[in-house]
């Protein structure tokens, strides 16, 4: 994986010093909260309902054992013993003291980590496929391109005060595991007819209150023009994105209002101009980065089958593991969705255990997924049972990847100052309901996503079943959506009808799954059945 050189380290160290100074000026009363706010937001420090929250960047979701271990130590030392993994592959701490924020950043910098641009109207942490470098189905490891973009976007002088926040995802497989087309820019690394690598740019996707699937703006940008094209795309947005209304300020609105062809034309014009400006790093820089993402020393000739005599292990292996590109290896997902748990939460001890297991079993690497789980990407199949036993003993072997209880949920009104409704208790009740009724196994793949407000941090638009919490005359109310997908078959869910109260939404989810179980044909997922039979049978069951 990527390692800082002295240049990278110096940039992060400078940021720590800068933020220490800013925080100290706030503590001393030299800065008002109004003056401090834009400064702390550029560094991922939010003032939430009960305390400061710090969001730490996990570039493209990849962590070393030492980095993961540090995240556990920070949870103990500065928080209440927990960390919360997010839908953008980051981690958040919910109980931070301003006086200690500088120390946390210094601890992070000691393991080549930071909180730079994890909030604010700037280019945020770049996300990617959590099986990058491991998946049997990928063209190439997408992370070197994400790292190239990370450096370009860090402290960008022109694009730090954009109309709104800006999120980029990079994938390199036809299987989309990063919700690529629901980002401001989604890049897919592809090979053209001549056999050369380049990137397809999808621009103008997003969730929030106006969800849109990003259209293809350019089908091929050569590798030695990626930064230049990105710069052109951002410049058109920075100049013409709406600033009169924050709810219409994302690039998806600009692309939609101009039309994708006109937006593409303007970007082409700017691109032609910028190609003359020498803003592109040489390919040697990409090669330097790529060398650090070289495959670990996979052993040849390893057994390709595990001993499956333990049925609990066999079930977990079937549910939570993914095919690896190298025979004898497999990628294992550690579910952070135990029955009745808080999606994405892990205790300090669990984080440190996952760090040790990453070191012991997965070439010192783990990944954060956008579905708020942890992946050990490179596990020997022959060691999978031993790994599972350690996970099981720590309560980390829930066999529910992509099942109805593998819920994505935002922090909601329990923590977030923007939320209209609680998300976590709804997730907990649904998970408990389906554990009790035993239907989760029969249902199979069903991605359920919950947001506690219209900002859609819980990706409700993209859930096979989505839930949106709203405020209805002072009471929490939950709308139900069906038919969304964040995968390569990207689609946006549709609202079923009138919302439900907290108990009602749990019943409604169960009714929707009953319709599916009654109507499905062989091999159909919930999403497939919904797409085949449409909304009506579900409405009938819910409101009829």
């Amino acid at each position: 994986m990527y390692r800082y050189d002295t240049y990278d380290q110096a940039m992060v160290d400078a940021r720590v010093a800068e933020f220490r100074d800013q925080a100290q000026r706030r503590i001393d009363g030299k800065l008002t909260e109004d003056q401090f706010k834009p400064l702390r937001l550029m560094n991922g420090l939010y003032l939430q309902l009960h305390a400061y929250m710090l969001r730490v960047a996990v570039p493209y979701g990849t962590l070393s054992g030492a980095q993961m271990h540090m995240l556990g130590d920070i949870a103990d030392k500065y928080d209440r013993g927990y960390g919360h993994f997010t839908t953008r592959q980051n981690i958040q701490y919910n109980w931070i003291k301003l006086e200690e924020a500088g120390d946390i950043l210094a601890d992070l910098a000691s393991v080549e980590m930071h909180a730079i641009q994890t909030s604010g109207n700037c280019i945020r942490n770049i996300s990617s496929d959590h099986y990058a470098g491991a998946a049997a189905d990928e063209l190439i490891d997408p992370r070197p391109y994400a790292e190239l973009l990370r450096q370009w976007s860090s402290f960008h002088p022109e694009f730090s005060y954009l109309p709104r926040k800006f999120k980029i995802a990079v994938i390199a497989s036809k299987r989309d595991r990063a919700a690529m087309r629901l980002h401001d820019i989604g890049l897919e690394i592809v090979r053209n007819a001549a056999g050369e690598l380049g990137a397809a740019f999808y621009i103008g996707g997003g969730m929030g209150r106006t969800p849109m699937v990003g259209p293809l703006i350019r089908d091929f940008v050569p590798l030695d023009q990626l930064i230049t094209y990105s710069e052109a795309a951002l410049r058109v947005y920075n100049r013409y994105g709406r600033r009169d209304n924050k709810y219409k300020a994302r690039i998806k609105i600009l692309v939609h209002e101009l039309g994708k062809d006109e937006y593409a034309r303007q970007v082409e014009e700017e691109f032609a101009h910028l190609l003359e400006q020498n803003v592109e790093p040489p390919l040697a820089e990409l090669e330097r980065i790529k060398a650090m993402f070289a495959d670990p020393a996979f052993k040849p000739g390893l057994p390709t089958k595990a001993d499956r005599t333990d049925p609990a292990f066999a079930l977990w292996m079937d549910r939570n593991c993914h095919a690896h590109k190298t025979p004898g290896y497999i990628s294992a997902t550690i579910s952070l969705k135990p029955v009745g748990g808080i999606p994405g939460d892990a205790s300090a001890d669990q984080i440190r255990l996952m760090a040790r297991l990453a070191t012991q079993y997965s070439f010192d690497e783990c990944r954060v997924t956008h579905a708020q789980n942890i992946v050990l990407p490179h596990v020997e199949i022959g060691q999978l049972h031993a790994l599972w036993q350690q996970l099981d003993a720590a309560g980390l072997a829930t066999p529910n990847l992509d099942q109805i209880d593998d819920i994505i949920a935002c922090p909601g009104l329990d923590y977030c100052s923007l939320a209209n409704a609680r998300s976590i208790p709804v997730a907990q009740q649904i998970s408990e309901r389906f554990a009790a009724n035993g239907k989760a196994d029969a249902i199979g793949e069903l991605k359920l996503k919950i947001s506690g407000c219209i900002n859609a941090c819980g990706h409700h638009h993209a859930g096979h079943i989505g839930i949106l919490g709203v405020d209805k005359k002072g009471l929490e109310n939950y709308q139900l959506l069906l038919g969304g997908s964040e995968a390569e078959d990207t689609s946006l869910g549709k609202i079923t009808g009138p919302g439900f109260d907290e108990a009602g939404i749990v019943d409604a989810v169960e009714k929707a799954t009953d319709v599916y179980l009654a109507q499905r044909t062989d091999g159909e997922r919930f999403l497939d059945t919904y797409r085949r039979i449409g909304m009506e049978p579900f409405k009938e069951a819910l409101y009829g």
Binding site: D5, Y7, D8, A10, M11, A14, A17, E18, D21, Q22, P38, L39, N121, Q151, W152, S154, F155, H156, P157, E158, F159, S160, Y161, L162, R235, N238, R239, R243, H273, Q277, N278, V279, P281, P282, A284, E285, R288
Partner: protein
């Protein structure tokens, strides 16, 4: 400047420029709007508001001595693009950031090509010195000629 607003001029006066990284004489008359400038053949100073297209000036760069770029609020970043566009087109005159210019943005403004600053609220000089000295290197090529880290890595 109140007296200038009365005459239809919007620009800052020379006495409001706090920082200037140029040796030439300051322009002694106020800047006019982009629309007025394009119609007015003798003006040499022009002021860009966030909604103006900096490229409207590209046919006139040889007679411009001062471009003021207004930042009415610190969060409106359009002026950063306006500045780079002018420098990329070869503009070598004064490029002055005016308005809600905060100390934590001046380094990025320099990188985009600004070489003079007239903040509404004067900046603390020690803070200014610290801001310019903060980051040892830069990750991107921009309008200030600084050598990006990728170029340092590959000589």
């Amino acid at each position: 400047m109140a007296e200038q607003l009365g005459t239809g001029h919007l620009g800052t006066g020379a006495d409001t420029v706090q920082l200037r990284f140029r040796d030439d004489e300051q322009v002694d008359h106020p800047a006019v709007t982009v629309d007025a400038f394009v119609d007015q053949s003798n003006a040499t100073a022009v002021r860009i508001e966030p909604g103006d297209d900096a490229r409207a000036l590209l046919g006139h760069l040889d007679r411009i001595a001062l471009v003021e770029v207004n930042f009415p609020t610190y969060g409106d970043g359009r002026g950063f693009s306006a500045a780079r566009i002018l420098r990329e087109a070869g503009y070598t005159g004064e490029l002055r950031a005016v308005g809600d210019v905060l100390v934590d943005r001046i380094d990025a403004m320099r990188r985009c090509g600004f070489d003079a600053f007239a903040p509404d609220v004067p900046l603390d000089e020690a803070d200014v010195a610290a801001a310019f000295a903060r980051f040892p290197e830069v990750y991107q090529a921009a309008a200030d000629g600084r050598v990006p880290i990728w170029a340092l890595r590959h000589g």
